[in-house]
């Protein structure tokens, strides 16, 4: 079985990444990055990770302004100024890269540190624009995003499964965000679901061994489902539930070809 993850470098440019993602057998690309221990803003990130889980959409703010907002609120005014600036610079560089993936409006950037259990279930991200890609850079989590090809999903069973589970998973995500409670406790009354989320073995998967993991420290880019094209099926790992890391999510969407 061919691995559906292609490796590229930030320096190779967004054009190279886009060409790889347009290759039918490629579901995601991996851009190697140093581990958190080797990054200059590690102490800042770890301080954020010690706080209760949160999420923040930048909504057009610069990374510097958005990080200042969250840092001042959580860690106190002026904390980790230099490290914060270094992380903002790194996010800005990824934003520039994401912008190169399409010709649309500026990408949307968000960060979060809470664990969304819905991510444990194979899913595609969706937007309404014509083409879209999502870039994910997790800092400080033990397992990488997993991907599987679309033909490894029994589509009828998947639709039936998601009709039942999608709103329930959305509610579960919200409860985890608001209460910080453990998934196992919140869904103790749903042992079969919990078992699937723990093991990654879902009833709509054709071959459970046909899944691949992005390196946990790498930046990844995957396709987002649009009215014009399919998205990449992906999921998080149960291993991440206790330490989801700081996840930097950048979505580049465009109505241009």
């Amino acid at each position: 079985m061919m691995k559906p993850i292609a490796v590229t470098a930030l320096g190779s440019g967004a054009g190279a990444a886009r060409r790889l993602l347009e290759t039918p057998l490629v579901e995601a690309i991996e851009i190697p990055r140093p581990s958190l221990d080797e990054l200059p803003f590690r102490d800042f990130v770890r301080a954020l990770l010690r706080a209760p889980g949160f999420k923040l959409d930048f909504r057009g703010q610069t990374p510097d302004a958005a990080l200042a907002l969250v840092s001042n609120q959580i860690l106190g005014p002026g904390a980790f100024q230099q490290e914060r600036a270094a992380l903002a610079e790194a996010i800005a560089a990824l934003e520039v890269f994401a912008r190169g993936l399409g010709a649309g409006p500026p990408p949307q950037v968000a960060i979060r540190t809470y664990f969304a259990p819905g991510d444990l279930v194979w899913h595609v991200d969706r937007v309404s624009e014509r083409t879209a890609f999502r870039l994910l850079w997790p800092l400080g989590r033990p397992a990488g995003m997993k991907v599987t090809p679309a033909d490894n999903i029994d589509q009828r069973r998947y639709r039936g499964f998601m009709r039942r589970e999608f709103p329930l998973l959305c509610q579960l995500d919200t409860r985890v965000l608001h209460t910080g409670a453990a998934v196992e406790a919140l869904w103790a009354h749903r042992p079969a679901q919990l078992a699937a989320m723990t093991s990654g073995r879902f009833p709509f998967i054709v071959d459970p061994d046909k899944e691949w993991e992005i390196d946990p420290t790498a930046v990844s880019v995957h396709r987002v489902e649009t009215p014009a094209g399919p998205g990449t099926y992906h999921r998080s790992s149960w291993t991440n539930r206790a330490s989801p890391g700081l996840q930097i999510v950048i979505t580049a969407a465009s109505d241009e070809q």
Partner: protein, 314 residues
């Protein structure tokens, strides 16, 4: 037959609304299904639900004409989304899915197909809270209501997605909410139903028997026929889990055979905020059995209190 008010529409609807999507299902005995619809109307059911885009409108229209029931029966419909989507999505805008011109065209076409002057409700399905402030759907539905082409404006919630309606109900913009409600899915009773009662918004309780799971204690490997979407919905562990819960329910309450079904239906009627319970009835036997459940009235408060422990999914 008892009747309840459907929110601010001013309509009095029977405690059952007859779902008709089974008329479109492959393998259904259409002669028997048609006879069941006629019997239901004859016995006083005065509300009929169509699937998206009119569903079985032609068959229903023909029955209404033949039985002369068109003047007293209220037909509830759901507009077809112009954007196909399997799951609710804020990324699909209300204007893309349900533009006003499309709502008018589909409503007027449906009135012609049914041979009636007014629909009881026109509803937007798979409701997303973001839609409340988007597009021209509300303006168009208000205009259609003003013209007497619909009696009320409704939203239909995706399965289990009960809280998505709270803002719309509070806004006063809508007349009715359709929501999944049954012994396993009691979530609507927490916040939505009290709000609907306060705002005088009607409630259609859908899936009262959890897609048939509360209507059957069959232990066959797969009780749903080839081509029935429920085969995939219940596949595979979920079928075992659901059966286990139905058996536990039956054992605790000493229920045998059809009395599980009856308890499931009476559970829905027992909530005062529920205006009507939408249910498909494919055979005359099912019509008679379901009407019998109505005759027995609401469940006792102590039974309802014990049933709260059987809440499971939502």
């Amino acid at each position: 037959m008892r009747f309840r008010g459907l929110g601010r529409t001013g309509l009095k609807v029977s405690e059952y609304t007859l779902g008709t999507s089974f008329l479109e299902r492959k393998g259904v005995d259409l002669a028997e299904a048609g006879a069941a619809v006629e019997l239901a109307l004859e016995r006083g059911i005065n509300a009929v639900e169509l699937g998206a885009g009119g569903g079985a409108a032609d068959a229903v229209g023909e029955i209404l004409e033949r039985t002369g029931a068109g003047q007293r029966v209220h037909v509830f419909s759901r507009v077809t989304s112009l954007v196909p989507f399997d799951l609710p999505s804020p990324h699909v805008t209300a204007q893309d899915a349900y533009p006003g011109a499309h709502i008018r065209a589909e409503t007027e076409a449906l009135l012609r197909r049914l041979g009636v002057e007014r629909l009881g409700l026109q509803q937007l399905h798979a409701w997303c809270p973001e839609w409340l402030h988007e597009g021209d759907w509300l303006e168009m539905l208000q205009r259609l209501r003003g013209e007497g082409k619909i009696a009320g404006i409704g939203i239909s919630l995706f399965d289990h997605d009960v809280d998505s309606a709270l803002e719309a109900v509070a806004s006063g913009a809508i007349d009715c909410v359709q929501v999944m409600y049954n012994i396993f899915d009691q979530g609507a009773a927490a916040s939505l139903f009290p709000l609907c009662a306060k705002q005088k918004v009607g409630v259609i309780a859908r899936s009262p028997l959890y897609f048939g799971a509360l209507a059957s204690q069959q232990q066959t490997a797969m009780p749903f026929a080839e081509g029935d979407w429920r085969r995939d919905y219940f596949f595979n562990e979920h079928l075992r889990e659901t059966r286990g819960r139905v058996v536990r329910l039956a054992r605790e309450f000493g229920l045998e055979g059809s009395s599980v079904t009856e308890t499931g239906l009476r559970f829905c009627f027992s909530h005062p905020a529920v205006s009507t319970v939408a249910l498909g009835m494919r055979t005359r036997r099912q019509v008679e059995a379901n009407l019998q459940a109505l005759d027995h009235g609401p469940l006792a408060p102590e039974t309802l209190a014990r049933l709260r422990a059987h809440r499971w999914l939502c």
